[in-house]
């Protein structure tokens, strides 16, 4: 009975590895109780970022891991979702109506743009498609910084969230010493939306449609020959991934009350989500979850860790320099190279193949 329900929720795609199951439950529960276990603005911010990036990486895995589409325009859709809400909240004031308008507009723009790019260019070879998405994404980033009346240019937009999501809003006293305020409510909005979105993506990749995507990844020529119009399937997959990325952007905008090119449109983020998917394990969905958690953690805490190591090694001449907090990107790079070298099929692939 429980097993049946679990299969239904996870769309028959069970972790198929005890360790993976343990890690996933730890992430799910850890993020659920994060505000109470790790109170404080920074840790809550990291937890919310993890939720947002799990959705963003999972939606990218739908493209890269399941359909075999290499796109560099994924952050563009993330940005469209974020700017949709940000612009609506800036123009219409801090109301839920503004949020709704922003979400609908962002989703519409993202889906239409993905469909246009898909229909015009998914017929070409993978590498050319990747180049086209790179060009479109660059053009879009420039457009966003030039249209400063609308987007705030390089500075981006600062706006007020609906009252219920702001710190002054209170829905009780305290629980386990944590104030029940709008920020807490905002966090759980982001958390629950992320869980729902990941489960929805998991359903899509395990649906009959998802099985066709994997067939296209494996052998597009044969998929076409047995009767699947690959360009249609690829375009729909692009639209779904774009919509999910836009919703991740919406969550980010609703969490941070500021949206700018650096946090939503930059190429750095594109590289980050690519790494998340590859390190976690392409074409597994759970890999995107693991990859996002690892990377966001590393970005936020590796410097702190290095600072501790740096202090401990203060007397040692060369080593202390290596562990200087400013070298965190170097260590991150080393960690990734080792990760890709030792787990070519990603962490999830490695865990599932343990015997």
């Amino acid at each position: 009975m429980v097993k049946q329900a679990l299969r239904a929720i996870l769309s028959d795609d069970l972790p198929r590895s005890r360790w993976l199951a343990v890690v996933l439950v730890a992430i799910l529960v850890g993020l659920a109780v994060a505000p109470f276990l790790f109170p404080g603005a920074k840790s809550l911010n990291v937890a919310a970022k993890i939720c947002v990036f799990i959705v963003l990486a999972a939606s990218f895995d739908l493209l890269l891991g399941y359909t075999g589409i290499v796109s560099f325009a994924h952050t563009m859709f993330f940005g469209i979702g974020a700017y949709g809400v940000a612009i609506a909240l800036t123009r219409m004031g801090a109301s839920w109506a503004a949020v709704a308008v922003g979400v609908v507009a962002g989703l519409a723009v993202a889906i239409v743009l993905a469909a246009v790019i898909g229909l015009f260019s998914l017929r070409v070879r993978t590498i050319f498609f990747a180049m086209i998405t790179l060009a479109v994404a660059s053009a879009f980033a420039i457009l966003a910084s030039q249209l400063s009346d609308l987007t705030g240019g390089e500075d981006g937009l600062n706006y007020r969230l609906p009252a219920e999501l702001r710190a002054p809003f209170s829905f009780g006293d305290t629980l386990f010493g944590v104030r029940l305020n709008g920020r807490l409510l905002d966090y759980y909005l982001v958390y629950l939306a992320s869980v729902v979105l990941v489960l929805a993506l998991l359903r899509i990749v395990n649906s009959p449609f998802g099985s066709v995507l994997m067939a296209i990844r494996e052998n597009p020529f044969r998929a076409e020959a047995i009767g699947y119009r690959t360009v249609v399937y690829r375009t729909i997959a692009s639209c779904i991934a774009a919509a999910a990325a836009a919703l991740a952007g919406v969550l980010l905008a609703l969490w941070s009350s500021q949206t700018n090119p650096d946090t939503t449109l930059s190429f750095d983020i594109m590289v980050d989500i690519l790494l998340m998917v590859v390190i976690g394990g392409m074409g597994t969905m759970y890999g995107a979850v693991l990859g996002a958690v690892l990377l966001v953690f590393a970005q936020n805490y590796l410097q702190d860790l290095l600072a501790i190591a740096h202090k401990a090694l203060a007397g040692v001449p060369l080593l202390a320099n290596f562990f200087h907090p400013d070298r965190w990107l170097l260590w991150l790079g080393v960690a990734f190279i080792l990760c890709v070298y030792f787990f070519p099929s990603g962490i999830v692939g490695r865990l599932r193949n343990r015997r």
Partner: protein, 249 residues
Amino acid sequence: MLATKDLTIRFGGHAAVDGVSCAFEKGTLTSIVGPNGAGKTTYFNLISGQLPATSGTVTLDGRDITGLGASRRAHLGLGRAFQLTNLFPNLSALENVRLAVQVKSGKGLDLFSRALSHRELIDRAREHLVAVSLADRADAVAATLPHGDQRKLEVAILLALEPEVFMFDEPTAGMSIDEVPTVLDIIAAIKKRGDKTILLVEHKMDVVRSLSDRIVVLHQGKLVADGKPAEVINSDIVREAYLGGAVDA
């Protein structure tokens, strides 16, 4: 009825298939023979839509399908098994066949149900694996199957498409001798039903002789002979095409 009229494809100046007009009746098995490079597989590619014709037409039951893509032709009942094994390599044998069954069911665009919940598709896929005696390898990843089993899986996919026109491109190539009868029996069984069009490209003359109702000979892209097996196999033009071609080379 499947027919081609003046069907031609040029690669640069070279006509790989050159003005081939031929009609294939329901209920008959036609073998297409010819030396290597005669254009047999290219002719198949033009019929099933993998290549666009330079000129000429392909018609199926009177409908001109020359401009349609491969997937549309598959939906209209053209089923193709490939000469070089052409599977979904990292998916299981069962999933390879289930995908073909799923085309027929029209569920490909169903995004919201669980693929595994459609038991009827899985059961039908299993039946096709049984037909090619691969039932015990259902969960094996296609790429790990031995060559002969991959060829059988190729045939199982074709069966799963339930086409009106079966196109076999050297279905027994590279198979061990004891595996060949499984595939030939399947082709004979389809033929026996009497309502399907079967096209067969094959080099083994004993196979061609025993299965075919009719033989068409291609040579340097042109149709050079067409008739009953006994007449064609012993005709001068076939001897010349095979032996002459070999001497020229």
